[in-house]
Amino acid sequence: MKQDFSVALYSGVSKSTTFIERLITGLAEQNIDVYIFGLNNGKPQKSKHVIYKTYSGKLHKLYVFLKYSLGLFLFKNNEKKRLDRFIKSQDQNKFHLRLKYYPVLYHSPTIFHVQWAKGLADWMWVKDFGIKLVLSLRGAHINYSPIANPELAEMYRFNFPQIDAFHAVSQAIGQEAENYAANKEKIQVIYSGISKTSLIPFKKKIVSKKDDLYILSVGRQHWIKGYSYALQAVRKLLDKKVKVNYTIIGGANSEELLYLINELGINNEIILTPKMDYENVLYHMQKADVLLIPSVCEGLANVAVEAMALGLPVVSSNAGGMPELVIHNKTGLLYENRNIVDMVDKLLYFNTMTEKEITSMATNAFQKVSEQHNWENFKSAFYTFYKDQISIT
């Protein structure tokens, strides 16, 4: 049965990150109408509950603009006039603002859920039209951008107190948001959920290591991923006569990484590949001995959740929310963020672990993921999260 509320998930584009797409799927499975606004870059969801109201190309933008201008004029003229007054007061291209805002006002979802905090200021107006405003706390937008950009921090401090509720991807990022005046009572941690059934074909069967330690990292090349630290750790492992192969999926063509690999003389031990599709990543996880997360900044890495669900041991930095998933010596190994010596120590320790110890750690990790990142729990947590907002007047 269709739910009595609707949610707009706004990330600026119609095809978003894995986490956001999973959230859309989860909501649609619960018969919640999900509106997607913004620029059309693909429509991956096929459910009738996912309603794309997007625009693309000059002519289509003009069509969308005219359609919603007329629609609002005929059916919500007072609201349109109020919104127009607000748009006039803004120091931005008025056509673009109308194109962006009119569809939202016309459809007026019960909840408008902003996915990326940097764009929050654009959407504060929805509150004046009775729409609940919810913000996700994730990644760079909370962890480091406001540290580097005082104006952004100021914008957060001004707007966060007016937000109806926050969704945090980890406890750590929730605490970080409190530095910018986010009300602790309004922050709810909902860990990402994964459906384990899709991973069964890739479940890791053998945990014993071969002669070479096969280390895997997955993620685009960006300084927050800390690959430069990982490459130096590989050099140190080789100096300690440990045979290592290290693959970074998503690291191809990075000048910084290529230069370091060459300088450190580890060309034969490192493979940088382009970004891969999901199944290929899982295939590589199945083959690897250990997943390394060298990030200096991390909300809570989904790739670690997937690895642990597959039975691949994880060695991670203690950045951000990682300690909430990787409990040292129980569900994985943790090292001190930015500390290469500690990273090497933990990899060396992993290399000396017995098959029984690794199996035990992988079992604990699987258990942790099954409880903390359960797909059904994820869906119901979001359902309750939204439902709670409606009940608050």
Binding site: Y144, I147, A148, W223, E256, L260, V296
Partner: protein, 388 residues
Amino acid sequence: MKIGLVLSSTPGYSETFFTSKIKRLQDHGFKVVLFTQSRNEDFVLCQVIKAPKVYKNAVLQLVSMILTLTKLITSVATVVKYIRLEREENTSTLNIIKKVYLNSHVLSQKVDWLHFGFATQAIGSELVAKAIGAKMAVSFRGFDISIYPLKNKNCYELLWKHVDKVHTISNDLLEIALNLGLSKHHAIQKITPAIDVEKFHKNGEEPSKQSVIEILTVARLNWKKGITDTLHALQILKNMGYKFNYTIVGNGDDYERIVYAIYQLDLVDYVNLVGKKNVNEVIDIYANSNLYIQCSISEGFCNAVLEAQAMGLLCVVSSAEGLSENIIDRKTGWVVPKCNPEALAQKLIEVLNLPEDQKSLIRKNAIQRVKSDFTIEQQIKKFVTFYS
């Protein structure tokens, strides 16, 4: 003699190397013409010839090609020669058409030397000098030799075959180029960067003893500059109880990376990111600093290190490419292994604890060496012989 310099754009006001080189070459009787992709309207030092534009729109591109190729009618013999040379290198017809278009601004000119300011700029134009009857020169500067070929294997094969003379700013870059296939039998001349020693001049005595050490780096905020390594080293000093202010002059893409490292390494009260400064402001900052760090991961030579030495700062640099020629270890400063914050920290502690007379000697040596070996006058004399 007419020199054609190939650069991506006309040098900006702050790019003193190219502007002073052009001025001084003109003073020595050379005619200079610049071939660039873009032009700053303020630039009036010499004639500038812009490369034809590449359009995304196919119709505009076609029209531009027809117009551009029509203009080459007066240089038919040169174009025919160029096509023949490209054919000898087995270039496809389509690529020849593209190359004629992209190089048309040079093919219509007559110069004695066609000098590519960076090796990367010669890619796709390796046969142009021969076609117009000029000699071909290329400069090695850093990124073009140390980094670009890692992503683009064998990118300089044709350049090595046709270049007449090579200018390198350091022996280390030359060594890398030799490993990339450049023949050692080529005419090669090392001409290091230079600075205006009148401007970067130490007026007073050594800075008086301060309770807080003033440490400085002048660099673009980019991974190549190794600023994160420097911050790791300074964290060690901080944990040992040293009191210092570390000033970083410059801006760049890695601003967030560096701010976040400062935050995570708990150095917020110790580091000042002051952004880009003009020459006079930088001189003031040098004058108020004690110690200069350039812990680059990759570095062609580094003018800032020359300036710091001229200003009497104690310099600790990494072993990246030209830096170990810029500083003579333990004579004009100190060289530490690159990508090694522990080694840098150890060296900084050693330097800070040196007796004053030893520090003075190093400062004196550095000032003397910059004054005698790295002046613009000397550099230009070398360029005059380069083209002779």
